[in-house]
Symmetry: C2
Subunit: 375 residues, 2 copies
C-alpha cells in the first residue's frame, strides 16, 4: 500500500460511508463526485471555476493523454498537475473503457489490447504494464489498473473470462513502478452477476491495492441489476479502503450507490448536460431552451452557491443557451458540477450526523421523477 | 450634455491624449480598449474573466440584443448591466454597422433602415429614433446615434450623401429620451476624404454630444488612407470630449490612432483570434497550433499578468488548441483582451509621463512586422 495514501475518519451509517481520503495532493472528503477532464481540461472550465464548484478531485483520461499530447511530454512539463494547472488530487483511469468505446479494430488477448487510435488510425498496443507506466509519467494521485470491461448484455461465460483476465492483469499491474505517492486501485468486474462480483472483489481484496474501482456498470443495464452488483462488490471489499463506482454520475444513481457503500464517483454527465443546455435542479433537469424561461428572474436554484446561481438569472441563461453562446456552456457546466458536489456533501453531512436513512428517503421521494428522466 | 458624464484630467502629448472618462457605472482610464460582447456576453468569458483582463468598459451590440432577446425583456430584467452581470460601463453601438453587414434585403432611405433579420428573416425597421429608444431600454452608459456607414471604396458623391444624412439623423437622435445618466455620442462619417471628415466633425461638434465616434474606417481601405481621415476628424472635434474609433483593435492600429488623438477603441479581434487559436504577443501573433510549440514550457508573454500567462505554459495552450478544447478559446481570449488593455495602459502611462513620442517610436520599430500581419 502507498504511504500517506488512505481513507481516514471513516463513519458508517447502515452501508453508507463518510471519510477523508488522504492523497499526495491533498485530502478529499468522501463521498466525492469527480468531474472528468478528458483533454487535460474539464471542458471549458478553468481550474478556478472547478475550485468555485468545490471539486476536490478530478478524473483525467489516460487514453486521451497518451495519444495526445503524449505522457512523456506531460512528464517533462512537470506532470499532469503542473501541465493543466490543477494542484489538487487527480485520478487517472487506465484507458480500457475508451479503447472499448472509441478506438477502432480492437483486439484484446492475454497480452493486452491492440487497437487503432481514434485520432489518426495509428496502431497501438496497451498492455497492463503500459497503462501503469503511462499513469506513472502523468503523475496522477490515483492510478487504475487495466481491466477487461464487458458490454451489457454479455453471456455469463464471457463475464467469467473477463473477470479471470482482469485478475491476472491486476497482478501484472501491481509490480509496475509508480510515481511518487501514487496510489493504485484494482477494478472489480463481473457484469450484473452478483456472485461474480463477489468472487472478483474477494480476489482483489487479497492483493495490496489502495482502493477499488467497480467497473462495467451503467453501460445500459436496467438499474435493478446495477444495485445488486454494486452491493455484492462492496460486501466483499475491505472496509478500510475506498470504493469508486466508475462512470456514474446521475444524481439518483449517486444517492443509491452511496447508500450501498460507494465513496467515489466520476461522470461526464454534468459537463455534457451543460454543453447541451440542461441544468441539474432539485427534482430533475431543466432544459434552458424552453421559451417559458425567457422572463424568469430568479436563479436556477436559490439554494445553490455556484457562479451561475449567484450571479445570473434563469432568463439570462435561457438567452445564452438560445443564442448558442459559449458562456452558456461554461455557466451550466459549473452549476451542474456544483449540483453533484453539493449532493455528495449533503449525503456526507447526513452520514456524519446519523440522519442518512431519513435524508435518503426524503431525497428519493422528491427526485423519483428525475430518476426516470436522468437515464 | 449628460450630467456626471465627461472626460476629466486630460493630458495631451503631441496629439495623443490621456484622461479619465466618468460614466454612470464608474470611471474609465483613457486611452481604453473595449472588448465586444455580441450576445450579452463576451464570447466564452465570465464577467470575472473580463475583470481579470482589466477590461473597464465593454461594447454591446444593439442590433443583436434588439432582435434577441429583445430590449424590453432586458429592461424588465433590470437593464443590460444586471442581465449580463457586468456592473462596469457599457457602450452600445446603434446597430447601423450590423444591419449593413448581417441583415438581408436592406433598404435605407431618409426615414431609416428597412431590413430582414439575419435570425428569422422577419421584416424590421430601424429609424434613428428606434436606435435611441432601444439603447434607452438597454440602459447602457454610452449610446451611439444611428449613422449611415459607407463601404470602401465609395464614390465621393455617395460619401457626401452619407455625411449629410448622418448629420440629419444625428439631429433626430439628440432629442430622444435616454436612460438615466446615459451619454450620447455622434458619429463622424466621410470615408477616406479628409475634408468630408472635417466638415462632418465640425457640424457634429456644434451639436450637444457627450463624445464622438469615428465610423466607417477599417473597412478595407489601405492604412495610408485611414490615418489622414482619423487625424482630420480629430482636428475638428472638441478637445474636451472623448473620441472613439469604431471597430478598430489591431495593436498597431491602436497605437497609430492614439498618436492621432483617439481615446476609445472596440474590436472583436482579441476574442476572434483567441477562438481561432492565435495569441497577440510582442512583435506580432503566435499561432498556437504550430507543432514547434508542443514542448515550450514558459508563458506566452513573461510580461503579461493574465490568467493564461500566469498559470499555463505555451505547451499546454498548444495542446488545448490542437485538441480543439473549449478552454483554449477561453484562455487565449482572456490573454488577447489583456494584451490590448495593457497596450492602452502603457500608452496612457507614457502620455502622462511625457514619453509617448519615444514609446510610440520604440513600439513601432519592434512591431512593424506585426503591423503587416495583423491586417
Amino acid at each position: 500500500m502507498t504511504p500517506a495514501f488512505g481513507l481516514r475518519d471513516l463513519h458508517v451509517a447502515g452501508s453508507a460511508r463518510a471519510g477523508v481520503l488522504r492523497t499526495a495532493h491533498g485530502e478529499i472528503d468522501t463521498p466525492v463526485f469527480m468531474p472528468v477532464g478528458t483533454q487535460a481540461s474539464v471542458k471549458g472550465l478553468m481550474p478556478s471555476d472547478l475550485e468555485s464548484a468545490r471539486a476536490s478531485c478530478i478524473l483525467a483520461n489516460t487514453y486521451h493523454l497518451w495519444l495526445r499530447p503524449g505522457a512523456e511530454l506531460i512528464r517533462r512539463a512537470g506532470g499532469l498537475h503542473a501541465f493543466m494547472g490543477w494542484h489538487h488530487p487527480i485520478l487517472t483511469d487506465s484507458g480500457g473503457f475508451q479503447i472499448m468505446s472509441l478506438a477502432h479494430l480492437v483486439e484484446i488477448d492475454e497480452e493486452g489490447a491492440a487497437f487503432c487510435s481514434h485520432l489518426d488510425g495509428s496502431a497501438r498496443l496497451l498492455r497492463p504494464e503500459d497503462a501503469m507506466a503511462v499513469q506513472a509519467l502523468l503523475g496522477s494521485d490515483i492510478a487504475m489498473v487495466l481491466d477487461v470491461c464487458t458490454r451489457y448484455p454479455s453471456p455469463r461465460a464471457l463475464l467469467e473470462r473477463a473477470v479471470a483476465r482482469t485478475l491476472r492483469w491486476a497482478e501484472r499491474c501491481i509490480g509496475i513502478p509508480r510515481s511518487d505517492g501514487q496510489a493504485i486501485f484494482g477494478i472489480v468486474q463481473g457484469g450484473t452477476e452478483p456472485d461474480l462480483r463477489v468472487a472478483c472483489a474477494e480476489a482483489l481484496a487479497a492483493m495490496p491495492f489502495d482502493g477499488y474501482g467497480i467497473g462495467g456498470l451503467s453501460v445500459g443495464e436496467p438499474r435493478d441489476q446495477t444495485w445488486p452488483a454494486v452491493a455484492a462488490a462492496c460486501s466483499a471489499l475491505p472496509v478500510d479502503r475506498p470504493r469508486y463506482l466508475m462512470g456514474v454520475g446521475a444524481p439518483v444513481d449517486l444517492m443509491e450507490a452511496i447508500a450501498r457503500g460507494v465513496d467515489m464517483f466520476d461522470c461526464v454527465l454534468p459537463t455534457r448536460l451543460g454543453r447541451h443546455g440542461s441544468a441539474l435542479v432539485p427534482g430533475g433537469r431543466l432544459d434552458l431552451r424552453k421559451i417559458t424561461l425567457a422572463r424568469r428572474d430568479g436563479p436556477l436554484d436559490p439554494a445553490c452557491d455556484c457562479l451561475a446561481c449567484t450571479k445570473f438569472s434563469v432568463g439570462y441563461l435561457h438567452y445564452l443557451t438560445r443564442a448558442d453562446a459559449d458562456l452558456a456552456r461554461v455557466l451550466l457546466s459549473v452549476h451542474n458540477v456544483r449540483f453533484l458536489t453539493r449532493l455528495a456533501s449533503a449525503a456526507r453531512t447526513a452520514i456524519l450526523d446519523g440522519s442518512f436513512a431519513e435524508f435518503h428517503r426524503v431525497w428519493t421521494a422528491t427526485n423519483t421523477g428525475a430518476a426516470r428522466e436522468e437515464r
